[in-house]
């Protein structure tokens, strides 16, 4: 009874705070914008040069000059501003974005993140991911707890150490998977903590699917 993609997005959305400026990655993170609580003001940054990103356009209202970092058509809002890629990443690198929510291939218990390349496969490039994880104040990873290949093999993704090339070292603050939620003290030496379980998931389920060391720190009501 693990969380669905939408439930994972909804859980990640609970990290939003009023007035936050947020960058959402491709995939499940994009869904987070559907779960911004009513009355809370959150501004979305798109690293290709836009602050105040609006929803996808209605059919027929697409503008080729108005896309997000996933190259999807989007819309603008009354609050929107546009700027160059240099100014956009100055904003990111300078620590002005409060929260980045993005996907991952692997996360290590010390906050290391791998999400851009698999050696031996054609490499597409890191895009803005390395800048985002290095620069944004808080980094939340949303990912499936394990990777299931078509042939049925299962690979763990929460590891002692990433074995894929890193996107960033000690950059992840929180991991939301379909099975639960972990927090990482990325600048400290404390262990990774399991703070929430998805409904019907036990700590033993988590242990069986997790290589990383973690301590239980479950909240009263997950």
């Amino acid at each position: 009874m693990a969380w669905t993609r939408d439930e994972m997005a909804a859980r990640a959305a609970r990290e939003l705070r009023d007035g936050f400026y947020v960058n959402l990655g491709i995939g499940i993170p994009t869904l987070v914008s559907n779960y911004i609580p009513a009355g809370m003001k959150v501004s979305l940054q798109s690293e290709n040069g836009m602050l105040g990103m609006g929803p996808f356009p209605y059919e027929g209202e697409e503008d080729p000059d108005l896309i997000n970092a996933g190259k999807q058509t989007i819309t603008e809002l009354p609050t929107t501003s546009y700027f160059s890629s240099a100014d956009s990443f100055a904003m990111i690198r300078g620590g002005h974005i409060d929260l980045s929510i993005l996907g991952a291939m692997q996360v290590a218990e010390n906050g290391d993140l791998a999400n851009w390349m698999i050696p031996g496969k054609m490499v597409k490039g890191m895009g803005g991911a390395m800048d985002l994880v290095a620069g944004v104040k808080k980094v939340v990873v949303v990912m499936d707890h394990v990777a299931r290949a078509k042939d049925g093999t299962v690979e763990k993704k929460l590891l002692h150490r990433c074995n894929l090339p890193l996107t960033g070292a000690r950059v992840v603050d929180m991991v939301v998977t379909d099975m639960g939620v972990f927090v990482i003290d990325k600048h400290g030496s404390g262990p990774m903590k399991l703070i929430e379980l998805a409904p019907g998931v036990t700590v033993d389920d988590i242990r069986a699917n997790t290589e990383a060391s973690f301590v239980e720190a479950l909240k009263a009501a997950a």
Binding site: P64, K71, Q72, Y82, S85, M126, G135
Partner: protein, 235 residues
């Protein structure tokens, strides 16, 4: 000092040379100098190093220069959309240097601003930092990155005046303004060519000093890579 050229071919006349380095604006297919790229294709210039965030898609923009094998090396942050790119790269026919997108943008901005090197925390502890100086400032590690310059920059703007002042439209701005500053010669294609005084001087993004040549592309094609819509609420 007439900056306006009648077409892309004449705007590039005399500035193309085998082995040169070209910066090409745009993010994905948004804000790309497509008409100028086609003129580069038609010129037959080869052995190019191209600095561009992406590499176009098959059959469009820089994808054209890949088809004709005019590109020897790409400096980019993401090239996921090109099959032909993957083929040439895996066959060892194409050199590729990945830069984190923000590092790429800043390297170009630095190149244009007379800054030969700067420090960033992007990429520390990753293969991007290998072989580069890593230094600690105020207890945090940073990697040194170099400024980037080019022989030629081709950029796309929404409006330009005959002085070379440029204004961009929405997210089609992206890499164009920095690239305009970082090349020996910058050639701009503009969707609307106006007289001096028609642009708001407080809103000009690229001052004319950066633009040596300008060409009006009246019928600029635009592409959408990922048409994404929301549903209209039921009436």
């Amino acid at each position: 000092m007439q900056k306006v050229y009648s077409d892309a071919k004449s705007a590039l006349a005399g500035v193309l040379k085998d082995g040169m380095t070209i910066m090409s604006g745009g993010f994905g297919l948004c804000g790309i100098p497509e008409t100028l790229i086609e003129a580069i294709r038609d010129s037959g210039v080869k052995n190019l190093t191209v600095i561009s965030n992406n590499a176009g898609v098959d059959g469009v923009a820089l994808g054209l220069l890949l088809e004709t094998r005019q590109i020897r090396k790409m400096i980019s942050s993401y090239v996921g959309e090109n099959k032909i790119f993957a083929q040439q790269y895996l066959a060892g026919e194409l050199e590729l240097e990945f830069n984190p997108q923000g590092t790429l943008a800043e390297r170009i901005r630095a190149g244009g601003a007379g800054i030969p090197a700067f420090f960033t925390k992007t990429g520390v502890g990753t293969i991007i930092a290998e072989g580069k100086e890593v230094r600690t400032f105020d207890g945090e590690e940073y990697v040194m990155e170099r400024g980037l310059v080019a022989d030629l920059a081709v950029v796309h703007a929404w409006k330009g005046d005959t002085e070379g002042n440029l204004i961009y439209r929405k997210t089609a701005r992206n890499f164009n303004p920095m690239m305009a500053t970082a090349a020996k010669v910058t050639v701009a294609e503009v969707e609307h060519l106006v007289e001096p005084g028609e642009l708001n001087p407080d809103a000009i993004v690229t001052p004319g000093v950066y633009v040596k040549r300008i060409v009006h592309v009246k019928d600029a094609r635009k592409h959408i890579e990922q048409r994404t819509n929301r549903k209209r609420a039921a009436a």
